[in-house]
């Protein structure tokens, strides 16, 4: 096996690679290209030809769409293990969303032609991809239904809980989104995101130091996310 290949050490091995035998692993290893992106750099652009299967090795990214007026809607925030180029990849020729790094990130890119070849040859990999796609798509759809039925306070609470619990596993964290991006994610205006955060601060639910957020009262935050 190619000694320069580090796939067998990659923490994503379990998802994508455990189903591959050594021969196939070697193919992936020599075919893959790692790319590094700084915070704010664009990884994929809406309309671009889909050439690679891209997954996130480390970092944090946002998937979003831009409309003709330049306004953006964030579809989801993806951390490693959430595939990045999952949507569209098997059905479309071009991306119908863009991806930008929210933190310094590393992606691993494999030509779609290689992935398709492997799927044809390796049923376990195929099942794994089906499972993963199903999971990711489901989560995006359910989250968007959840967000839709909440009022503004509930939406902001939902987003904060998501970052605190799912992304950073800590009650204090540096929010990698601007207030504007928060608004684009949960479907409200920037002003109202800011106002809602201020309310939460006044109510003693949050402590806010610029982008650093400390959740002082998670129980209340959760009840706001759930009921109002």
């Amino acid at each position: 096996m190619d000694p320069s290949c580090s796939c067998e050490l990659c923490e994503l091995k379990g998802l994508f690679i455990e189903t591959l035998d050594d021969d196939h692993l070697d193919i992936i290893c020599s075919a893959k290209i790692e790319k590094e992106f700084n915070t704010g750099e664009v990884i994929l652009k809406e309309g671009m030809q889909i050439q690679d299967f891209v997954y996130l090795k480390s970092g944090l990214v946002k998937l979003y769409r831009s409309d003709s007026g330049g306004k953006e809607q964030i579809i989801t925030i993806a951390k490693p293990f959430d595939y990045v180029s999952l949507l569209s990849v098997f059905s479309n020729n071009t991306y119908n969303y863009s991806v930008t790094a929210l933190e310094d990130s590393v992606t691993c890119n494999i030509k779609m032609s290689e992935v398709k070849k492997l799927v044809l040859e390796n049923g376990k990999l195929a099942l794994n991809l089906l499972r993963q796609m199903s999971l990711v798509a489901d989560q995006i759809i359910l989250d968007s239904l959840e967000i839709r039925k909440k009022h503004l306070r509930g939406r902001v609470a939902f987003l904060l809980i998501y970052f605190s619990q799912d992304i950073y596993q800590s009650s204090e964290f540096d929010l990698p989104l601007t207030r504007k991006e928060m608004a684009e994610y949960v479907g409200m205006t920037t002003e109202n995101v800011i106002r809602t955060l201020s309310e939460f601060r006044r109510d003693g639910i949050l402590k806010i130091y610029g982008k650093t957020i400390q959740v002082a009262n998670m129980d209340t935050l959760k009840s706001i996310a759930e009921f109002g």
Copy 2:
């Protein structure tokens, strides 16, 4: 080949079956069960164990979630060729949504264990499923983003255009949804759906005879869907 099997005649053959050779087709054919549902009958229920891969052979169905308060949110309307049990099916043990027939419908059910076995053996089928899942999930996500950014009039217009063009290919059709279901689909109240329809009628955009809708001015309807 089993002479009672009609799969090779099924119009869904192209999607699910063209990738199968005769042996595999025979397996599917003898394993599949067709089920008929009348309008209003429940096909799948949220929380139920997932046992079968279910796809819609004819008819029209809604996929939806119910919250604790009994309120429902419609995720999507599916016609034949849109797989019904696609979401969750490869990643979950239970459905996280329900499915009900909006018109008399026929489903074709195949045990998931059979489908998984076939995926393991048949790479073309796997790729076909990946493509189809990708397509369906993408469409649901994009539609929900579209709906989210519109005002009430735009949402109702979007829904009417969808039924007129995508489902019935006619400017006059019987809407298979109640006003309440329309509201559950586009995220607004029943009263406001009714009010908006009345507005459209007053503006000469629609003619409404109960559930029968005639789009009198598609251009205006489209510009409302697009701009407001």
